[in-house]
């Protein structure tokens, strides 16, 4: 188990440096960043000064060293647009994003497990058909559109909920709903199909042969096994969740990382985009590591693995 975690941790570190390198080279490979950063009316001297300031007159190796060193020290440079330290901007935005994402993700997971398990248990019932219908529709409709239609109905027409902002609990309802919509259908469908496989297995028959009540058979014997494969894909769900968060913040004018990213992208504010990418990468890799550990906790075969 300890070995398993160490290996995963090492993989995370390697992956993290891979991402650092990609961001570094993507910027430089696309041409001289100073032409990207400088405004068109800069004089040649100003461009040279900018180059020196960014360290672009040094060799690539040296540049990489400087870049890595500053990131390790948490220094992401200064926003070109706002002339503010990027670290501070992220410090403001990140909590807002987490306040929205964490409860949404947890809610989506809980809902998809409950709904998926119930759908599989009462297979082919009206309930199961409803779940399947939601899953099919949810995987086809674009999330941003559903969110906008929700704004149209609940905020503009019915005037029940606020359009944008994050002042009151009511402000959380539509953005959270949107985020849940991004992850729920796929997860629910996966839980349902894994649960169906598990319910078909011999050990579930065996549990019934023991005389266990159906409740115990489903929520103890079946669910624990049905948890394993959905858990492994939580890591793969994260990219979709990040996309969902960016779009949600954009739609509801939520002052988080996503909005920061989109604004910075339009302004071609490279230090900000780069910093958001790196912070997100750390978060995503960290969550993946947690998922791996919880996965090992559910599946004894991994917990006891020696390799």
């Amino acid at each position: 188990m300890a070995r398993f975690i160490v290996i995963r941790l090492l993989q995370c570190v390697v992956a993290f440096f891979g991402i650092l390198l990609i961001t570094f080279f993507l910027l430089r490979a696309s041409g001289d960043p100073s032409t990207l950063l400088a405004s068109p009316n800069f004089s040649l001297e100003q461009v040279q000064a900018l180059k020196a300031e960014l360290g672009l007159d040094k060799s690539w190796g040296e540049q990489l060293g400087i870049y890595l060193n500053s990131i390790v020290h948490g220094d992401f440079g200064e926003s070109l647009l706002k002339k503010k330290a990027v670290g501070i901007m992220i410090g403001d935005a990140l909590p807002n994003t987490l306040k929205l994402m964490v409860p949404s993700f947890v809610l989506a997971m809980i809902l998809s497990f409950i709904l998926g398990v119930l759908a599989a248990t009462y297979r082919d019932s009206w309930w199961d058909n409803l779940v399947k219908f939601i899953a099919v529709l949810g995987q086809a409709l674009p999330g941003f559109w559903v969110a906008i239609m929700a704004v149209l109905i609940f905020s503009v027409k019915l005037e029940w909920l606020p359009v944008a902002g994050m002042d009151t609990p009511a402000h959380y309802i539509l953005p959270m709903g949107t985020l849940v919509f991004f992850t729920l259908p796929g997860m629910m469908r996966l839980v349902r199909s894994t649960m169906l496989d598990v319910l078909d297995s011999e050990y579930i028959k065996m549990a019934r042969i023991k005389g266990l009540p159906e409740r115990t058979v489903i929520w103890k014997h079946a669910l624990r096994n049905a948890l394993i494969s959905p858990l492994t894909i939580i890591g793969m769900l994260l990219p979709g969740t990040v996309l969902g968060a960016v779009i949600t913040e954009q739609i509801f004018n939520w002052p988080g990382m996503g909005r920061l990213l989109v604004e910075a992208t339009f302004a071609r504010d490279f230090p900000v985009v780069q910093a958001v990418t790196i912070i997100t990468a750390i978060l995503v890799l960290g969550i993946n590591l947690l998922v791996d550990i919880s996965y090992a906790w559910v599946d004894p075969q991994i917990r006891y693995q020696r390799t």
Binding site: A140, L141, V242, L243, A264
Partner: protein, 301 residues
């Protein structure tokens, strides 16, 4: 579930089951034909958009701004689905948008499928260290939000058609590689590959002549299942503004145009989103159908 047995239950059950069977058969036929028609229609629109579209999608009439759809009060029959904030015909923009949606997603699928298949076969057949390295990269790529790379790309090379194609390709190849690698691994342990090796076939020959032809079915299934995903991803990138640049119509950016006008012109957002939903739904149904025909083992996808 358990229940007590009565003889009356028997006859009731029988009738019920027969009823379901007829209904499901009709449903199954519809589930195949409706999506086929929708997709065919979409392809025709995409190819012949200049001849089908009633108006120029990029130029609007300032006097005809915010016109509601024809079926609503105040709508003109000239603009069946209404006009947007610049007086452009929404229907025409939808028709041209089909072009962008289809071409971007098909290109991206072609690229991701090629890269993923090549790497997957090499990893699966090569095994050992090659496999380990490729799969680690795949793991990272699968868990890394491709959106961020797309954003980086948009900053580095600017938004546009090829940026989107490139970004979507970065998103998609890892899924193929993982799937194909599994298949290739299974096949390289099969008897006919062993036989080929005994006969002195080279690794290249085995990969291209023995493994690849046996992977094609799975590949086709994966590719069709991806059409919907790619269209959705393209729409999301366009919605965020890093896709096809204005004024070229793209369904995603059309939804975004309507965001600011929800209180007075809901149709600007509503129709393109519905179009995306309809096409993706059809694509997914067709993909499911093809999977059931070609490779039912892939049901988990």
């Amino acid at each position: 579930m358990l229940n007590t047995i009565t003889t009356t239950a028997k006859t009731k059950k029988k009738k019920q089951y027969r009823g379901i069977s007829r209904a499901t058969r009709v449903m199954r036929n519809l589930a195949l034909w409706i999506p086929t028609v929708v997709m065919a229609f979409m392809i025709v629109l995409a190819i012949f958009s200049p001849w089908i579209a009633p108006h120029d999608p990029t130029v609007g009439k300032i006097t005809d701004r915010y016109l509601p759809p024809a079926f609503m009060e105040g709508g003109k029959t000239d603009y069946l689905l209404g006009t947007d904030q610049l007086g452009r015909d929404i229907l025409s923009r939808l028709i041209y948008g089909a072009r962008i949606s289809l071409s971007v997603s098909l290109l991206a699928i072609a690229i991701t499928a090629s890269i993923g298949t090549v790497l997957g076969i090499i990893a699966g057949y090569g095994g050992g260290r090659t496999d380990a390295i490729v799969m680690r990269v795949v793991d990272v790529a699968l868990s890394f939000p491709g959106l961020l790379l797309a954003m980086l790309l948009a900053v580095a090379i600017g938004p546009g058609f090829w940026t989107v194609v490139f970004a979507l390709s970065l998103l998609g190849w890892a899924g193929y590689a993982r799937m194909i690698r599994g298949e290739a691994m299974r096949l390289s342990q099969s008897d006919f590959v062993a036989q080929a090796r005994v006969n002195g076939a080279s690794g290249w020959r085995i990969m291209t002549r023995h493994i690849f032809p046996n992977i094609i079915n799975s590949l086709i299934v994966l590719m069709t299942l991806q059409v919907g995903m790619m269209i959705l991803a393209e729409a999301a990138l366009s919605y965020l503004g890093i896709g096809i640049s204005v004024p070229t119509p793209s369904w995603g950016s059309m939804v975004s145009d309507g965001r600011a006008n929800l209180d007075n012109a809901w149709w600007i957002s509503a129709f393109p989103g519905a179009a995306i939903g309809l096409v993706v739904l059809s694509g997914n149904f067709l993909g499911d159908w093809i999977r059931d025909k070609l490779d039912p083992r892939l049901r988990q996808l």
